[in-house]
């Protein structure tokens, strides 16, 4: 049946793009240790890049929307451009991470970057059509029959996820993965072993950013529209919750986290009964539960449902109860087993 089938494809496409986003954030945060609370901006940058590469010139559709570029490029070129811009954004964010700011300061800078970006894009109507945003963003399968097109798109997103998974593995396992984890936990040791911490970190940031860029591009090509309303800073919290709930640093865990947060929780509340007197209540509830979930996990199980596997005796990542965490702590803290009252 058309409608249910289409709903399934929509959910799959969203799940795929959310997975890419969660993986990218996990690379930056779980692997490189950069607390990027502006990750949604990277995704937005990818989406806008795809849009202005794929769209024809702004004058083409009667000039009802204004934007830069309008290069009318193919899907592949536009997605690639989005990946590059995402990577650049990741590097830029990584550079701020190099300043030896305390982690919560870094997080705050990112939060503010998120707000500024939305304000600037919203204020400048000639750049990316302001607050109204862009529409008629081309879908690569627009010429196919609707059902075929949506399933073809699911396949495309699945392919992207597969590629993403291969890349993720390279960064989380094997010698590179071990080096990166060691860097997150104790960068001096890694530097002493002859690695350039700065380069390593920037590479991970670039790859994490590219994930975000591609995630945004794939989403926007599917839904056809994009505006500042789509990337409010709270969206980053949803991705972060996926990473925290699933288990930072663990690809399978983070994937499970994305599934729980996006499908079970944020889509799940759509199935709650509606009250005529208060029609938005169930969605409000979704966000309340999301916030509660984040707090509960940081409190009770900061390592997530599926903790990162530690192949060898790692350097202690979580501080013990009572003592302050090490200075470059990347984790969320909290002893795994809470002491009795």
């Amino acid at each position: 049946m058309g409608a249910a089938g289409y709903y399934a494809t929509v959910l799959l496409v969203y799940l795929g793009t959310d997975l890419l986003a969660a993986w990218g954030m996990n690379l930056e945060f779980g692997v490189a240790g950069v607390a990027n609370l502006a990750y949604i901006v990277v995704i937005a940058a990818g989406a806008y890049t795809y849009a202005v590469f794929a769209l024809p010139r702004a004058t083409a559709n009667g000039g009802f929307q204004q934007y830069i570029l309008g290069l009318h490029q193919s899907f592949a070129v536009s997605v690639l451009a989005a990946a590059v811009v995402g990577a650049l954004a990741g590097i830029l964010i990584g550079l701020t991470g190099l300043k030896r700011l305390r982690q919560d300061y870094q997080a705050m800078v990112m939060l503010v970057v998120s707000l500024i970006a939305a304000t600037v894009i919203g204020a400048d109507t000639g750049f990316l059509n302001g607050d109204i945003g862009l529409s008629l963003i081309p879908n690569p399968f627009a010429n196919l029959a609707p059902t075929t097109a949506s399933w073809a798109y699911v396949a495309l997103v699945a392919l992207a996820c597969l590629v993403g998974l291969v890349v993720m593995r390279r960064f989380t396992t094997g010698p590179l993965g071990r080096t990166l984890r060691a860097m997150r936990d104790d960068e001096h040791a890694v530097a002493a072993a002859g690695h350039s911490v700065v380069n390593l970190r920037l590479v991970v940031q670039a790859v994490g950013g590219a994930f975000g860029g591609v995630s945004g591009a794939l989403l926007v090509a599917f839904i056809g529209g994009w505006s500042p309303g789509a990337w409010a800073y709270a969206e980053t919290l949803a991705i972060l919750t996926a990473v925290i709930v699933g288990g930072m640093g663990n690809t399978a865990g983070v994937s499970a986290g994305a599934f729980v947060v996006y499908l079970l929780l944020l889509q799940g509340v759509q199935f709650l009964p509606q009250f005529a007197a208060h029609p938005g209540l169930s969605e409000d509830l979704g966000w309340m539960v999301l916030g509660g979930l984040t707090i509960a996990f940081i409190w009770l199980r900061p390592q997530g449902i599926f903790p990162e596997r530690r192949p060898r005796l790692g350097i202690a990542r979580f501080a013990t109860a009572g003592a302050p965490p090490p200075r470059e702590e990347a984790g969320l803290g909290g002893a795994a087993a809470p002491p009795g009252p």
Binding site: T125, F271, G292
Partner: protein
């Protein structure tokens, strides 16, 4: 310590409940068995019910509740009754897609929709068209002025026409030095191109043109700049909150004198009246504040039917006074009646079938009875007569792009907080300014 534990447990229990509900609802939804009997037709109100624009959802539900109540009281459509289903587009074009798709997939007999406002129209309209569900949109996007989407219907003017109407009224009053101040949000910004296109055609001048952020702590500096430009009139479009802050500071900085302001009818509400009159007094608000929007007569039978039910219905009476003077919700109510009458004419409640009858419901034709409510239309059709529906927004003629933009009304507040019509701007005049 134990209270804290309990709190966390409670939070986790909440998660459990949601998860359980999802699991319970999941298979039922996937089976797609209509939950209610198939004699209920669902009317989607696609609008934000959460997020920063959540107020829209509540306001747009009013025409739906009013329309469905009246249609059901008249015996429903082909043996079916109508039911409103809120579909939360959250105001976020990305989040809207799964929510609207979900509603389409799981709502039994989803055959008509209203809403689809500016923030999310670009991503939600294709979803309804794809599902062959006819809809009356209240979005103001200029991009739909020439749409070829067969399921798209709009009986409210596009934003650029609104903007041009502001200028037409300023010119009518002889105000040529115009200050143009718009909040930089989607719904307000969209009016700007129309304003700027119309100003030179009326030999007027934009002495200052500023775009301001919403909900700022102070607009004093903006006010000072506007004062320095010595405008005769302010063309202003922002949310009521920003408007109140702005007017308050203007009055304070200009020794209690504020030039006339032209703004959109969306502000023609008792809440706005209360806020602004508390802020700068009733004299200004009843004499110098002009609210421009789609014209409709409050004397027509159609309006009386609409207003009476809006005040009587327990679901809508609280918001009735807020929306009764505003064009877009009225056009949604008319849309509902038109779609229901088209179903009767088509002898089908299927979107893909009745959609083709929509133009015939409203078109002028010899021998047709003019009807101003669904009930009257149903009676006339049952008697074998041809009908021409005239709604709250007046006689409707769709152009070939399924758009209808009538004349514009200029209202001012009365001390009773209701609006009174002071001037009508013909649709042709607005088209000329945009041409």
């Amino acid at each position: 310590m134990s209270t804290i534990r309990r709190r966390v447990t409670l939070a986790l229990a909440g998660v459990g409940v949601v998860a359980a509900t999802v699991i319970a609802a999941g298979p039922a939804a996937a089976r797609l068995v209509p939950a209610a009997s198939s004699s209920t037709i669902s009317v989607g109100v696609v609008a934000p019910f959460t997020g920063p624009a959540a107020e829209f959802g509540q306001l747009l539900s009013v025409p739906c509740y009013v329309g469905t109540a009246l249609i059901n009281r008249a015996g429903g459509v082909l043996g079916s009754t109508l039911k409103c289903v809120p579909v939360d587009d959250t105001g976020d074009p990305a989040d809207a897609v799964p929510n609207v798709t979900k509603a389409i997939a799981t709502t039994s007999n989803f055959q008509m929709a209203i809403g689809l406002e500016t923030n999310t129209a670009a991503t939600t309209i294709p979803l309804l068209s794809r599902a062959k569900i006819p809809f009356f949109t209240t979005n103001g996007l200029v991009s739909y002025n020439h749409t070829t989407d067969p399921y798209f219907w709009r009986a409210t003017p596009a934003d650029n026409a609104n903007g041009a109407a502001f200028v037409a009224f300023a010119a009518h009053r002889g105000w040529r030095r115009i200050a143009v101040i718009f909040e930089n949000t989607a719904s307000n910004e969209a009016n700007l191109p129309g304003v700027m296109a119309a100003i030179p055609k009326e030999n007027a001048r934009a002495v200052i043109n500023l775009s301001i952020p919403g909900d700022s702590s102070s607009y004093s500096s903006v006010v000072e700049r506007v004062l320095a430009a010595h405008p005769q009139v302010l063309i202003f479009s922002a949310d009521p909150q920003t408007t109140a802050t702005f007017l308050s500071e203007y009055q304070q900085l200009n020794h209690n004198s504020v030039p006339p302001m032209i703004t959109a009818t969306e502000s023609l509400t008792p809440d706005f009246y209360d806020t602004v009159s508390k802020v700068i007094g009733t004299s200004y608000i009843t004499h110098h504040l002009y609210l421009v929007g789609a014209y409709f007569s409050t004397r027509s039978v159609a309006y009386k039917v609409y207003a009476k039910e809006a005040y009587a219905n327990p679901l809508t009476h609280k918001l009735a006074s807020t929306i009764l003077a505003v064009g877009p919700p009225a056009s949604a109510y008319d849309g509902l009646n038109i779609m229901a009458l088209a179903m009767l004419m088509a002898h089908s409640t299927k979107g893909s079938v009745y959609d083709r009858y929509i133009t015939q419901v409203v078109s002028k034709k010899p021998g047709a009875v003019v009807v101003q409510s669904f009930a009257a239309g149903k009676r006339a059709l049952a008697a074998g007569r041809k009908i021409q529906y005239e709604g709250v927004v007046g006689a409707i003629t769709f152009n070939r792009y399924h758009n209808f933009a009538g004349s514009f009304a200029v209202n001012v507040f009365r001390p009773s907080k209701a609006g009174v019509l002071v001037y009508v701007i013909p649709g042709a005049e607005v088209s000329r300014l945009l041409g």
